[in-house]
Symmetry: C2
Subunit: 313 residues, 2 copies
């Protein structure tokens, strides 16, 4: 893998993904930032802060879309804390963002390195959709696209049926699905399989690695939030899973399905729907518009190994 | 149980439910018929035909709503055959229906036997919604309500997310959910757990009981349809499960959940959504508007035993 654009809305689990990237040597070409977990200005600041804290102070950060395409801005401080990093007192970095117009940077980088870059998107898909609308040839210009988003055949989180990243900009997600590329959506049907054990959490807590120590600090708020859902004080690793699968796709198997996003204004708006009925065979070409890949089986043991090793726990 | 109103759209699995009722001695007060699997005139004729074939020629049949409340009529001959009974050459009964205005009959029967009757609805909910709109006190007048419908946390059939009975009249289903009664929705999340084994199918085929023989004839088309879904020539028992659980509620355990039907005009229209997220406790009172019960655990062995014994297989 020759370069990764990480499109993020940092965010506790975005921070965990960046910590993994640092330890695993993921070649981050740039981080582009979008509204989502927090407003985009705060998310951009957090992205710089976390990159710098884990030794990635050379990775440029570009500020992107500040609102969804067709609805009002909604953020998730109740999940990520008022500062987006778990209100753990993480000192903001003073490094300036490298620029704005993140969608334009995505297009420029893809044009400069045709066929080489991976896009890993772990926030709402506004920046990616804008890049596709600016440059319809984007699918030919990138190597792979992996997205944390959706809950196909699984329970939602932002709503009964909606996963937060899709729910925060449903129209953008539909643009991404309609583009003629092979896109993998790593949704709650996969990420909810990754709760950390108490032993793994203890390893993070005990580690003296600065990456693990940063993770442990930002995790506390997340553990509080997920205790109600998981029945014990633990959490799952949404954004890290998408990034790890971009680096090592072989840790999962995939199913190719017809899909759409509910764009109506009812209670299921923002639901990523995959056709799991089996009345007809699954489509063969994941590049077909309206077709995506989702995770089928997942090697959670290997995933946890990769993540914990990379953060030094 | 002192009396059951079976609201149906007969239909292959409606026929199986009626055969079960005959063998199990379920006290059918009346059958009311609604559009759904087939148009209501054909469904009414089929209901009379099946009742007469299994020895229930004393049960009156009332023809009900011929179309949904807020969308055009859609039927499912591809599942149930052009004649609704699997195109198996079942001879129609000559017995006349007892009347029309099924929703009015439901109100009249409930008023005549306050607190005594069970409503078991195994078709779209138009008749039940009309009865509630005619008589808002209906919830006080009936004993229990069991519905075959929905796919809460499960894959749909009529659409990716929609189960046929809800999808055929979403607005009617929402009226039923909003009524202040304890209503159990037996959906695909439960009924898809009931595929018949090859040995059980062979017992139906070999039986000389006229109920089993009727079932075997109408089942052939259904087995063809379900082979694609189940991977073998078998089928599940949607409508019989709802009726059996009305008779023996103890064969399942239930979960009380907040629920709504997607009424928007997007691709998830007609989805029955239950809040399975666990962020807050499930509601305690199943009678609260917007609250339903769904099946949690199910004793499929006992269910199959009851069904097969009743049809003489």
């Amino acid at each position: 893998m020759s370069g990764v654009i990480l499109d993020c809305d940092t965010g506790i689990d975005d921070a965990l993904a960046i910590a993994y990237a640092a330890g695993a040597g993921v070649p981050l070409t740039a981080c582009t930032v979008v509204h989502g977990n927090v407003p985009v200005d705060l998310g951009s600041r957090n992205t710089v802060t976390v990159l710098d804290a884990v030794g990635l102070d050379g990775v440029p950060v570009y500020r992107g879309a500040s609102r969804p395409m067709a609805q009002e801005l909604m953020t998730a401080e109740h999940v990520h804390g008022q500062d987006g990093l778990g209100d753990a007192g993480i000192e903001p970095s003073a490094r300036a963002v490298a620029g704005d117009l993140a969608a334009v940077r995505i297009v420029e980088l893809a044009r400069a390195h045709p066929g080489e870059l991976s896009i890993v998107a772990v926030g709402p898909l506004t920046n990616i959709a804008l890049a596709l609308l600016l440059e319809p040839r984007l699918p030919e210009l990138v190597d792979q696209v992996v997205i944390m988003g959706g809950a196909v055949g699984a329970v939602g989180n932002a709503s009964e049926t909606g996963e937060a990243n899709i729910w925060h900009d449903p129209e953008a997600a539909q643009v991404v699905i309609d583009a003629p590329w092979d896109v993998v959506f790593v949704g709650l049907e996969a990420t909810m399989r990754t709760p950390l054990t108490q032993e793994q959490l203890a390893r993070i807590e005990r580690s003296e690695d600065p990456r693990a120590q940063l993770c442990w600090r930002v995790l506390q708020h997340y553990l509080d939030v997920y205790e109600n859902v998981l029945g014990e004080r633990s959490c799952v690793l949404h954004d890290p899973l998408a990034l790890v699968l971009a680096v090592e796709p072989g840790l999962a198997t995939y199913r190719t399905v017809r899909a759409f996003v509910e764009l109506g204004r009812g209670g299921t708006r923002g639901m990523l729907v995959g056709d799991l009925r089996g009345f007809r065979p699954d489509p063969e070409d994941p590049r077909a518009p309206g077709v995506i890949r989702i995770v089928d089986t997942l090697d959670t043991v290997a995933f946890h190994d990769r993540f914990l090793a990379a953060i030094g726990a």
